[in-house]
Subunit: 102 residues, 2 copies
């Protein structure tokens, strides 16, 4: 069994208009994943919507963890919180998340 975390974002403000802003968010998140000590992280990816379906959100993050405790370490990591506070929170038009066992 594993524990999966999914988030979709629709951007507002500069992130909705300038792809470079979203690339900056993705790069910051990828650096955090590469550099942080996150035991129990099995896989993680993020990316901009490919534009092949109408009505989609703009961006998604998917992480698979050993269990809910490993997810919580990721969720609460100070570098993750810093990126959310400085680069993500004020640019979120809509955010939808699910965590599930599996």
């Amino acid at each position: 069994m594993s524990f999966t975390h999914v988030v979709t974002f629709s951007w507002t403000g500069d992130a909705a208009e300038d792809p470079a802003v979203v690339d900056g968010i993705a790069d910051a998140l990828r650096r955090f994943i590469a550099d942080a000590d996150l035991p129990g992280l099995r896989s993680w990816s993020c990316g901009r919507d490919a534009g092949i379906a109408t009505g989609n959100a703009d961006f998604a993050v998917v992480g698979v963890f050993d269990d809910v405790d490993a997810f919580a370490v990721y969720r609460d990591h100070p570098e993750h919180r810093r990126i959310i506070t400085e680069q993500i929170a004020h640019r979120v038009g809509q955010r939808t998340a699910v965590q599930f066992a599996g």
Copy 2:
């Protein structure tokens, strides 16, 4: 590189009230994944939200494919469309999807 498909659902009607209805949807999707010939499908999972965060959606599906063509085979598979039409579509309060390279 891979191609990731993410969907979150918030249920309405009987699916919002009866966990067995959602279990039936999850079981049908899992049987489809197990039985169908889906070349280029790397991983697939779905599940009910774990209830550890406020404001979350109710259910999510995550699939990772070799590329967008492999995703399209999954998306358009007749058994997938049948499950969506018969068990999912009329129970969706809100649906948010993203497909991304990665």
